[in-house]
Amino acid sequence: MRFVFRTSYAQDLTLFTDTVQRNWYIALLLALVALPKLAPAYLVDISLVLIYGLCGLSLMALAGYTGLVSLGHAAFLGIGAYAHVYFTQDLGLPWLASVALATALTAATGVLVGLPALRMTGVYLTIATLAFALIIQEVFARWDRVTHGLKGRPVDKPVIFGISFANDVAFYFLCLAFLIGGLWLTRNLLRSPTGRAWVAIRDSEIAAQSMGVNLAAYKTMAFSYSAALMGLAGALFAHKIGFLAPDIFSVLLSIQFLLMVVVGGLGSLHGALFGAVFVALLPVMISQARDSVPAWVGAIVSILGKGASDAAFGATDRFVKQPGLEPGIFGLILVLFILFEPLGIYGRWVKLRVYFSTFPLYKASTFKRQRAYMRSERLR
């Protein structure tokens, strides 16, 4: 068993609880830095994971910590992407300035969305963000001068201070740097009064008010910070996909982001990252499974003879090649996680870690869920 001894108040404020944890994270960082050498084939996919990680952080700060669930965050991603492309390619601004400006613009949009959101609670807010996202998607399609409308517009590779980052490896490190920066900033907020105020708003608005938390200010801050992170991710996303079109930033993308947060585990930054890995790599895994599953099924059924094996292979092959299968698999995974692992991947990770750190004294009922009854959330 491992005990973490707390010897000072300052220790509770640090990023890592003790040197052992810090060393694990340093090892992870070294592995990520060495990734281009170890697994160059997956570099492009991992860059997307890093960008989705930023998106996950954004939504986790808003939905996981402040309790304001947004089904329209793809709109902020799009605003950041289109703004950045417009600033670099149409206005010719330097890359960093353009990213900063795009982030600020998205943050300002976040404030605009946050202000009416102050009057809405729970599911109403979710529906309002959904409506907002659908309206913004229409704006993307109609505002030809900036977005080139439905034709879409191509995105050049990033050039920072004259150095081209068109290379996959360079872009990967750029994304990694931004993700680590975003993580650090978010972690800072969460261990300060602002982060605590956000959690208070999630758990009991009335008590938060009586402790001096200005609900309007903090909710707006949450929206604005979340939108800013999304805007930043949007700029990188634009470079990653190389071509912007309005139908990329759809409701389905917003749902994928929420899926990230739920599957990863609500209420923890680790959850955002686990979820990002999951959601970004799932399409890759599905397409690989599409190729290999029919062969496995054929091999298993070959006990019954070649005829049956061929038939099984054929049937499975037709089934997995269906175009409409992928959203169904996303949906199924989401449903299974909510039914059986509501704490998400991070929750499962914590359970494993507790098992190993308290071995052999682990009790199976440590994480047993109590029977819960529904209480009305209309009266808050």
């Binding site: 939905a63 309790g67 669930v69 009416p116 009057r119 809405m120 609670t121 729970g122 599911v123 109403y124 979710t126 529906i127 309002a128 959904l130 409506a131 907002f132 659908l134 309206i135 229409e138 399609a141 109609r142 009335i206 409701v251 749902i255 929420l258 899926l259 739920v262 089934f319 269906q322 175009p323 409409g324 299968l325 992928e326 959203p327 169904g328 698999i329 996303f330 949906g331 199924l332 995974i333 989401l334 449903v335 909510i338 039914l339 509501p342 029977r371 819960a372 009854y373 529904m374 209480r375 009305s376 959330e377 209309r378 009266l379 808050r380």
Partner: protein
């Protein structure tokens, strides 16, 4: 002058018909919300399943329209009840957000299922009212639209009577406000919830079948559900007459803005109305504001 009055009347008729569909889907939302405080994001997809099931009975199995209609409603209603009994019962007690995500996931699964079973093409549902129109004055009255309006009115009357004159309505409200207390009072909570889901799914199926001749049957039919949100919010999320009033209002606004406002407004009119209502009067037209007593 005659011409513009005709245009207005035509828009009113079409808007009413479209609005009735929104109202029916919104009604399904409101029913489930009143009983279990869930917002069922898969309502539109249930509607789509209803349309496809009826299509399947009529076109694949050659059953007559009215029998197929009733059968489709029964099948989807039963499916809704089973959905509640197997999946949703397990998540009651979890925060509302988690259940919303669950319904979103279910909706995606329904769409996938439909595309596997029925394919991704667009189908037409033959009905007794297809391609029949009458002319009243200068207004062309499509029988399909009339069937939608009449069907909605009949359904709402039946539901209103059901909820006003039976004890089920009161029991359902108890279940939604404090489930544990409802258990103590001897209300069969689980049965209530399944019943409400059955009714709501049936209403969605009816909406789907009524809408099918107008908008054709394909897997994206469910996205109408998003506009029906606007209807439910406008009417007040806990109010049954509100759902219908909200739906008709949204339908009329959409049709009129399509004609009189610049292009693009028709598609987003519903969402703009939604945002305005939520910003100005979140409880909608008929809703009530609740406040927690501390």
């Amino acid at each position: 002058m005659e011409g513009s009055l005709d245009i207005v009347l035509q828009l009113v008729l079409n808007g009413l018909a479209v609005g009735c569909i929104y109202g029916l889907v919104a009604l399904g939302f409101v029913l489930i919300y009143k009983a279990t405080e869930l917002v069922n994001f898969a309502q539109g997809d249930l509607m789509m399943l209803g349309a496809f099931t009826c299509y399947m009975f009529v076109v694949w199995y050659g059953i007559g329209y009215w029998v197929a209609f009733a059968a489709a409603v029964a099948v989807v209603g039963l499916f809704g009840a089973l959905l509640d009994a197997t999946v949703l019962r397990r998540v009651l007690g979890q925060p509302q957000f988690a259940v919303v995500m669950l319904t979103i996931g279910l909706g995606a699964m329904f769409r996938s299922f439909a595309s596997i079973v029925w394919g991704t093409e667009i189908y037409t549902l033959p009905t007794p009212f297809s391609a029949h129109t009458s002319r009243i004055g200068g207004v062309s009255v499509s029988h399909e639209y009339v069937s939608i309006i009449v069907g909605t009115v009949v359904l709402c009357a039946v539901l209103y009577a059901f909820f006003t004159y039976t004890r089920v309505g009161v029991a359902m409200q108890a279940v939604s406000q404090n489930q544990l207390a409802a258990y103590y009072m001897g209300i069969p909570v689980k049965l209530m919830c399944s019943l409400i889901w059955a009714i709501s799914a049936g209403v969605a199926a009816i909406a789907g079948v009524l809408l099918a001749p107008v908008s054709l049957v394909d897997i994206n039919l469910g996205f109408i559900g998003l506009k029906a949100f606007a209807a439910a919010v406008l009417g007040g999320f806990g109010s049954i007459p509100g759902a219908l009033v909200g739906g008709i209002t949204i339908g009329l606004i959409e049709l009129f803005s399509g004609t009189y406002l610049p292009a693009g407004f028709k598609d987003v009119a519903a969402y703009l109305v939604l945002l305005i209502v939520l910003a100005v009067r979140p409880q909608g037209i008929f809703g009530a504001v609740g406040r927690k007593k501390v």
